[in-house]
Symmetry: C2
Subunit: 104 residues, 2 copies
């Protein structure tokens, strides 16, 4: 669906951090907490797919785009980071800060 693709691409382009999430998922909370705790001055765009009208269309498009069908699905500085484990691993290695703070 062209509209869905446009919605998703706009979110990724316009936000330093974008997290496609589900509101009741603990792994998604963990990702959101990691950013809120460690990067409090960085605005993070969260899309709760279970609360979004086109949630499953968005999840299907993300699978097509990234090969990842799970949540959380995380983008930083327009790059696909992966899921909760990936973002925590990047954070521990100091790579997440580099990416969050790098030039647009």
């Amino acid at each position: 669906l062209a509209a869905t693709k446009e919605v998703v691409e706009t979110i990724i382009q316009d936000n330093r951090v974008a997290v496609f999430s589900k509101s009741w998922c603990s792994f998604c909370h963990s990702t959101k907490d990691l950013f809120n705790t460690n990067f409090p001055n960085t605005s993070i765009k969260v899309v709760e797919l279970d609360e979004h009208e086109d949630g499953s269309a968005i999840q299907a498009y993300l699978l097509e785009k990234t090969g990842q069908r799970t949540v959380p699905n995380i983008f930083v500085n327009r790059q696909h980071v992966g899921g909760n484990d990936d973002v925590h691993s990047m954070f521990r290695k100091g790579q997440l800060a580099k990416l969050v703070n790098s030039e647009a």
Copy 2:
């Protein structure tokens, strides 16, 4: 629903470890992994609520019984342990082994 109560109570009574879970939930995987890795000789009964016909009735009964509405909902030796964070915390403190191995 009396039948639901009976199903749940029987599972808790008849199994050293019972985990009420959802098949796609990473926190539930984490709980199952913890037991399979650290207590490989202990049989663990897993009930995937999303795959069970009466899944939401079971979840509602568990809320009534334990005050906990989330998954994973874990019982060891007929005692309510809690969720994923609780079981990991008990494990780190050495308390989980005590409970798993204690007299029925």
